[in-house]
């Protein structure tokens, strides 16, 4: 039979809407491919990566947030959370400190080049500026300055006269990250009081020196209960600050902190498949050896919330109803959350039959 004269099929008939096989796409779940567009050495052991999204669309982020960087090292995908050091509305830039013996930070410092490509998840994090115009107090230690400079610059961009105090602890003058950028900020904004504290200053340093303990933190930062406090640095420094602020009557709600999350020590994972009952949907999912609860659930198309994938944001927190899990440490779960039976789906795996409230 000849085709001439037959009605020509132009369009393929479609059913009612898209196929069910695709499920519902979850926002922000796809890692975003980026290209390293620039490398800027800040100090001997810190490097800023300037990143360009491959799709050309810079994602919206808020000052103080972080991305989970998914590097491929030796054929393995390794994730680490690094804060942005750019103000809101700026480009993507993250400053990463070389940790002696650190697998990932060594990769960043030694293997990444302009043009290197990898992926980002996020942004995420709630180390954010509050609405309002009250005083802001920042305490940063070492590379803890990364999200802090983003917050300070954003706050000053919104209100150039904002009452801001920044106490920044470094080892030596050469270890001060963003030294020039901070100096210029302080020069341009008289209401920004910048105090550098060096633990091992060279002779001739006339500024603050020595270790920062509670009383010194209180003296330098102040304990104004009307201010918002932002703390980011090593655990000892953060604990000293939190303790002294609490003693001085600063409400807990006015203190924000961003903890460094050390590289996770992966909990030993079962070598046999395990069944997980997701109570809310009633779905039973088989967790494959090596998978986390989150990976197993997503693979089966469950709409589970998640963000950083490295145990740092608790977006994937869920309650264990029955059964045991192995949870990689450290992570951001509080003692109270642990006591209430919560775990992190991204960092935990079932070690036997498991039932979760999700």
């Amino acid at each position: 039979m000849f085709a001439l004269g037959r009605p020509r099929r132009i369009l393929i008939p479609r059913g009612e809407g898209p196929s069910k096989r695709w499920g519902t796409a979850q926002p922000g779940q796809a890692p975003r491919p980026v290209r390293v567009a620039g490398l800027r050495r800040e100090t001997a052991d810190t490097l800023t990566l300037v990143l360009e999204p491959e799709d050309g669309v810079v994602p919206d982020f808020r000052a103080g947030q972080y991305f989970t960087h998914c590097f491929e090292i030796d054929g393995q995908v390794v994730r680490r959370a690094y804060s942005l050091c750019a103000p809101e509305g700026g480009g993507l830039a993250c400053t990463i400190k070389l940790v002696p013996g650190g697998w990932v930070s060594s990769h960043v410092h030694e293997a990444l080049r302009v043009g290197s490509r990898y992926r980002l998840l996020g942004p995420t994090g709630d180390f954010l500026l509050e609405e309002g115009s009250g005083p802001l107090r920042f305490l940063a230690g070492g590379s803890g300055i990364t999200p802090v400079i983003s917050l300070v610059e954003t706050a000053l961009a919104r209100d150039p006269q904002r009452d801001i105090r920044l106490v920044y602890a470094s080892r030596s003058e050469a270890d001060i990250i963003f030294a020039e950028r901070l100096r210029e900020l302080a020069q341009a904004h008289p209401t920004l009081r910048l105090v550098h504290v060096l633990s091992q200053p060279a002779a001739g340093w006339t500024g603050e020196r020595g270790r920062l303990d509670g009383p010194r933190i209180a003296a330098l930062l102040g304990t104004d209960a009307a201010a918002m406090f932002y703390l980011c640095g090593p655990a000892g420094l953060m604990e000293a600050a939190e303790s002294v602020l609490r003693q001085a009557g600063v409400p807990a709600a006015r203190v924000r902190h961003e903890r460094f999350l050390a590289a996770p020590r992966l909990a030993e994972r079962p070598t046999e498949p395990q069944e997980i009952l997701f109570k809310q949907s009633g779905r039973v999912v088989t967790q494959r050896p090596g998978e986390s609860i989150l990976e197993a659930g997503l693979r089966e198309g469950l709409a589970l919330p998640f963000s950083c994938m490295v145990g740092g944001c608790a977006h994937c927190k869920l309650q264990v109803l029955e059964g045991e899990v192995a949870l990689s440490e450290p992570n951001c779960l509080s003692p109270e959350e642990r006591a209430a039976g919560f775990t992190l789906a991204c960092s935990a795996c079932a070690t036997g039959p498991l039932s979760v409230a999700a």
Binding site: M1, F2, A3, L4, R6, R8, R9, I10, L11, I12, R14, G17, P18, S19, W22, A25, Q26, P27, G28, Q29, A30, P31, R32, P33, E54, D55, G56, V57, G75, R119
Partner: protein, 399 residues
């Protein structure tokens, strides 16, 4: 000229039927080598005359190729094994690695899937067809759906061809590599289908001429012709088409999707040239080599001249413009020039590298204006990143 006189004064529908018939006959008549014409004829009849792709839910395509079952596992082709390793290491996941939550409005002028500088509006205006802004946006969106639909149909063909070639290739390392290409093509089919189904929500039927090429490849029992057609010719066509779309689109999800696909294609063509260079130089007689050379030339011309989006014509302009005029508009559109440039930029050096560019056939390519691409980099000298860079560079020159 005689055809013009014949068409003159007839109603548009009759003009189109006569033009189509002559045009289809012309496809076969234009093939210089009789053996090549004979090998293509059944597919041309099925696609252009019987219109097999225009009705029904599926078309059986029977191939007489033999699976080459390896009994000794002795052959060694390290370069091919290296490609296999790279393919395994670089697998991406269409579901996980693309942000399907991206909202896509194909008629959004700020992030157009197909910007208004892609469709041939100037050529249409010269023929007296003027679209208003709203119609232009809708037409550009339809053109995006048509183009991506053809990509999808091509990927379905590539999936089966890759599977057939994996069966019939004689190198074990080629079979390992081929398995990864089957996975790649499956993934490409998945992402194009998903994009069309969930974002553009409009899918066009397979173009008759694309169907002819796919049918010819999938039913030819000679493994090396299948291989040449799929790995060199259709992959070259795909690189031209994907690259053009990649350059033009401003829609971030599609851009990223195409980027992933193009990077896979670089490996596919590399595999094709490795296998064929060895085969053509060592296994074929001069007569067989010459036949492959002619076949490649005819397919190259078909690919250059025949993808003229007739489905869009019938949907939009059937009662306003003759099919002949439409073909002229599309052939002269700048976006078609971009497509042809990117396709032949890769195709010609690859044909040269594998030994299908003798002085005899060069004269034919020269007549068709295609020898300017001789001496370019072939697939063994190019990575996925090189391809993306060259594609982006063409945009700068062209616009």
């Amino acid at each position: 000229m005689m055809l013009d006189r014949m068409l003159n004064g007839l109603p548009l529908k009759a003009q189109n039927q006569i033009y189509s018939t002559f045009d289809n006959l012309n496809v076969l008549a234009s093939v210089g080598n009789l053996k090549v014409a004979a090998s293509m004829a059944p597919s041309a009849v099925r696609g252009l005359v019987l219109g097999k792709a225009r009705h029904g839910d599926a078309v059986p395509m029977v191939s007489g190729h033999a699976a080459h079952f390896d009994l000794t596992y002795q052959g060694d082709f390290p370069e091919m094994y290296e490609l296999y390793r790279r393919a395994v290491a670089n697998q991406w996941n269409g579901d996980r690695d693309l942000d399907w939550s991206t909202s896509v409005d194909p008629e959004d002028p700020d992030k157009p899937v197909m910007p208004l500088d892609y469709p041939p509006f100037e050529g249409l205006a010269a023929k007296g067809i003027r679209l208003n802004q709203k119609e232009k946006l809708r037409f550009a969106a339809d053109m995006a759906s048509w183009t991506l639909s053809q990509f999808m149909h091509g990927e379905q063909g590539a999936l089966y061809a890759a599977a057939q070639v994996t069966e019939s290739v004689q190198w074990l390392d080629g079979k390992l590599y081929g398995a990864t290409q089957v996975m790649d093509e499956g993934r490409h089919l998945e992402v194009f289908l998903r994009y069309l189904d969930t974002k553009l929500q409009k899918v066009y039927a397979v173009n008759d001429n694309l169907f002819v090429i796919l049918d010819d490849l999938l039913t030819d029992s000679r493994w090396d012709v299948k291989f040449l057609g799929m790995q060199i010719m259709v992959e070259g066509l795909a690189l031209g088409a994907f690259g053009t779309m990649y350059n033009f689109t401003r829609e971030p999800l599609l851009k990223q999707l195409l980027r992933y696909v193009i990077q896979d294609e670089a490996r596919h063509v590399h595999y094709g040239v490795l296998a064929l260079k060895a085969h053509i130089s060592q296994e074929l007689s001069e007569a067989e080599r010459r036949e492959r050379e002619d076949w490649a030339y005819e397919v190259a011309l078909l690919m250059r001249n025949r993808f003229l989006s007739h489905e869009l014509y019938y949907e939009w302009f059937e009662h306003k413009l003759s099919l002949k005029d439409w073909d002229e508009v599309v052939m002269n559109a700048p976006s078609m020039a971009a497509f042809r440039h990117l396709m032949f930029l890769r195709l010609i050096p690859n044909l040269e590298y594998i030994g299908l560019m003798s002085d005899r056939i060069k004269a034919h390519y020269d007549k068709s204006g295609l020898t300017s691409f001789l001496g370019g980099k072939n697939a063994t000298q190019l990575s996925g990143e090189d391809l993306i860079r060259d594609i982006a560079a063409y945009k700068v020159e062209a616009r």
